[in-house]
């Protein structure tokens, strides 16, 4: 009953996400060639039956590299989103919390800290972190997590404030429930449910952000397949071999659209219930 409310678009998006997850988990089953297999004689082959996405400057099969690239890109996206979510929830809960005398200054500090983090554009914050830590996958994950955290923190803050002013919290206070119990049974579950749904959308943005860093050559080092890095590698050959640029980008776009559509379908379902 509840599942059918996902809608046609939601189901298609879920299918896309499932397919991408398969690429990430068992790329060997879907990719026709190993991602690093070089074939100097077959470089720059345009898309054909044998190589549906063509081959690159070293004759590697682009389709296989896109499939294997899902592993890095999606792992970075998902892990970074979880990290951002965790940090955001902690910050947002403090900033949304009650205005008692003891807690007030902490609340104010958390509030301003969120705004300060939010005032750094995501990509720039990520670049700052990478320049401090040096390039690499771990840096990209941390950077993306930190740049997405303030967004989640704002959402959690709003949700917590709304819940603290709601009738259900008032009813619990009237019947004498402790603050800890109210947070555990009402405030956190009700606040996190919509935030988790929006995190689905967030994975798409995290993947795009991570790909931008890869594109600047700051993430996964070559020749490992990663979508952003592949776009970077294909850039000198843009007019000669458009497929080197087109297909990895299409993969990023697909992740972005699928996550957004799925997130919205879940949100719709959420509001229905």
């Amino acid at each position: 009953m509840a599942r059918s409310r996902l809608g046609v678009d939601g189901w298609i998006a879920l299918g896309c996400v499932a397919l991408l997850a398969c690429c990430a988990i068992v790329p060997g089953m879907l990719a026709p060639f190993p991602p690093l297999a070089i074939d100097p004689t077959g470089a720059f082959a345009p898309p054909s039956m044998a190589h549906p996405f063509g081959t690159d400057d070293s004759g590697r099969d682009v389709l296989s590299r896109v499939v294997y690239g899902a592993r890095d890109s999606l792992t970075i996206g998902v892990v970074a989103t979880l990290g951002g979510l965790l940090a955001g929830t902690l910050l947002g809960s403090v900033a949304g919390g009650s205005r008692t005398r003891a807690f007030g200054p902490l609340r104010y500090a958390a509030d301003r800290f969120i705004e300060a983090l939010f005032s750094f554009p995501g990509l720039l914050l990520a670049l700052l972190l990478i320049s401090v830590r040096g390039p690499g996958v771990a840096s990209v994950v941390i950077a993306v997590a930190i740049s997405t955290a303030p967004g989640y923190a704002r959402m959690v803050r709003g949700g917590v404030r709304q819940m603290l002013g709601s009738g259900s919290v008032e009813a619990a206070q009237v019947q004498g429930d402790s603050t800890a119990r109210i947070w555990r049974t009402l405030v956190l579950p009700e606040t996190l449910r919509p935030v988790l749904v929006l995190a689905t959308l967030g994975v798409g943005h995290a993947v795009i952000l991570a790909a931008a860093l890869g594109f600047l050559g700051l993430g996964t080092p070559p020749p490992a397949p990663e979508w952003g890095a592949m776009l970077n590698a294909g850039r000198p050959y843009l007019t000669k071999a458009w497929w080197l640029t087109f297909f990895p980008g299409l993969a990023i776009l697909t992740v972005g659209i699928a996550c957004t559509v799925l997130g919205r379908a879940l949100e719709r379902r959420e509001q229905w219930q």
């Binding site: 709601s166 008032e170 619990a172 019947q175 004498g176 009700e190």
Partner: protein, 513 residues
């Protein structure tokens, strides 16, 4: 009734409105006419089809609706629903006074623009002269200091003032047909009188009025003819005096019985259970359950400070009902929050059974809390999302300190006390009707066996008959348990019917009435 010889302003013949996917028509074969200088009233509960009938007259039915039957305005047939031809008619020949659902005026536009819109749209008055007309229209609708309201927006106005602005915006172009959809719901008696007075004045000047209301008292005062609607059909019609004094249809009788206006304290509205008359009630020496002494609260500091309660003093004795009347924004909610210990006053003391709330330990304060219950204004908002009635009651019993094994048994006892069937208890509380939710909220408040119940507008969102059943229930519970009530409401009739004493909250203090 001498006006029937003229051509009616609007004539509706065999109007039927259906929605695809719904078997029963929302409006079923309704016919009537409104003549100049006449007021016709449609009376019924929510879902009776009265609002849809009104919208059909102005071509404002939702696009998913299908309708049959003939509507004519004057001598011409009305344009099709949603046709552009309506723009010349609406606001000029026929106007709608909508029910204020907190947003019937655009919150981004000034009152001056919203009220003067009809003049601009129908090119009646050049821009230079509009302000004067707007001020006049606002003054006619009873708006205090109309010049000062021009630059304000709808959400800066209180409910009563907003409703007057809505009346002004509908009447400014002097339409010959006025359709007023519940124009006085949620307003207190003073505002209601002023708005009905203005509508009545227009009728005397020759306009036709279709008044939609569930408030029988105002219909009796204003209408020349009344149509009682139920489930889309007109079940009875005629002169209001005749209809209300000798109702022919059982539903009309129920409606009349359900209105609390003029019914003495202690009498039942719809319930057939025998009631102890007020004289027979146990009258022990007054023993205060709740005392508020010199309460001062306000928001903000310095020049921005807005006082809410100023040295408010009030007490509620064991077993009695104190009614508290006040408009929205008068501080009713703050008062209740202070009594419940959710808001700490800047000055003053809260005593429960003679013990000062501020001078007790946290544990004592929590024990004290068990003696007061709250029935909130919006019960649905007060239930955790997705919770069933059963889980709401079990949680309340847990908080009341009832042993786990006892809880299911006690929950069904509470449910039967408020007449909620066990089958309803297992449904998501969001799927319950308004009356059922209110019963659940009352049962939850009773879980702690409180000696005092704070009732915050407990029936304001309910239809008259549902309201009557909830009020009867509260009366019965009070007799059985001896619980004291502090009843907060804007509805004078409800408060006078229910209360031993009536207080009015105004400008942060209370006065006896």
């Amino acid at each position: 009734m001498a006006v029937t010889s003229t051509i009616p302003l609007v004539r509706v013949e065999a109007l039927t409105v259906t929605f695809p996917g719904r078997e029963l028509p929302a409006v079923d074969n309704v016919s009537f006419a409104v003549h100049p200088g006449e007021c016709v009233a449609l009376v019924g509960e929510s879902g009776s089809g009265k609002s849809l009938t009104a919208r059909a007259l102005l071509g404002l039915l939702p696009s998913s609706a299908r309708h049959r039957g003939a509507i004519s305005l004057g001598e011409d047939p009305a344009p099709a629903n949603g046709s552009p031809a309506w723009t010349a008619i609406r606001g000029r020949r026929a106007a709608l006074v909508p029910q204020d659902a907190l947003g019937a005026l655009d919150p981004l536009r000034r009152i001056e623009l919203e009220v003067g819109d009809a003049l601009r749209l129908h090119r009646l008055v050049p821009p230079s002269g509009r302000r004067e007309r707007v001020v006049q229209a606002l003054a006619d609708a009873g708006m205090p200091t109309p010049e000062q309201q021009l630059r304000r927006r709808s959400d800066e106005l209180s409910g009563g003032l907003r409703q007057r602005a809505l009346v002004a915006s509908a009447l400014i172009a002097e339409p010959e047909l006025i359709v007023a959809d519940e124009p006085t719901t949620a307003l207190d008696a003073g505002h209601r009188r002023r708005i009905l007075g203005e509508l009545r004045r227009r009728v005397r000047e020759g306009a036709g009025l279709l008044l939609i209301s569930h408030d029988l008292a105002s219909v009796r005062d204003v209408a020349d003819r009344v149509l009682v609607m139920r489930n889309g059909r007109v079940v009875e019609h005629g002169d209001p005096r005749t209809v209300f004094s000798t109702p022919a249809h059982p539903f009309t009788r129920e409606l009349i019985a359900a209105s609390p206006g003029g019914k003495p304290r202690g009498s039942r509205l719809l319930s057939t259970s025998t009631s102890t008359s007020a004289a027979h009630r146990a009258q022990p020496a007054p023993k205060p359950r709740l005392e508020l002494r010199g309460i001062v609260t306000g928001f903000g500091t310095g020049s921005l400070r807005t006082p809410v309660l100023r040295h408010l003093t009030l007490e509620v004795n064991a077993g009695e009902t104190v009614g508290l009347l006040g408009e929205s924004g008068s501080g009713k909610t703050t008062l209740l929050r202070v009594a419940l210990g959710l808001h700490r006053p800047e000055a003053g003391r809260v005593l429960i059974d003679g013990v000062d709330r501020g001078a007790t330990s946290r544990a004592d304060s929590r024990r004290m809390q068990r003696r007061i219950g709250l029935v909130p204004q919006d019960p649905l908002d007060s239930f955790p999302r997705g919770a069933s009635g059963q889980s709401v009651l079990l949680d309340a019993l847990r908080a009341a300190g009832v042993a786990r094994a006892q809880r299911p048994h006690r929950a069904s006892a509470l449910a039967s006390e408020v007449d909620l069937s066990p089958e309803l208890l297992h449904r998501d509380a969001a799927t319950l009707s308004g009356g059922q939710r209110q019963r659940l909220a009352i049962a939850r408040a009773l879980a702690r066996e409180p000696e005092l119940l704070l009732l915050d507008e407990p029936v304001s969102a309910l239809d008259v008959t549902v309201q009557a059943r909830v009020l009867d229930l509260l009366d019965e519970l009070q007799e059985r348990r001896g619980t004291a009530y502090l009843l907060v409401s804007h509805d004078t009739d409800v408060v006078s019917h229910m209360s031993d004493r009536v207080l009015r909250l105004e400008k942060g203090t209370v006065s006896e009435r």
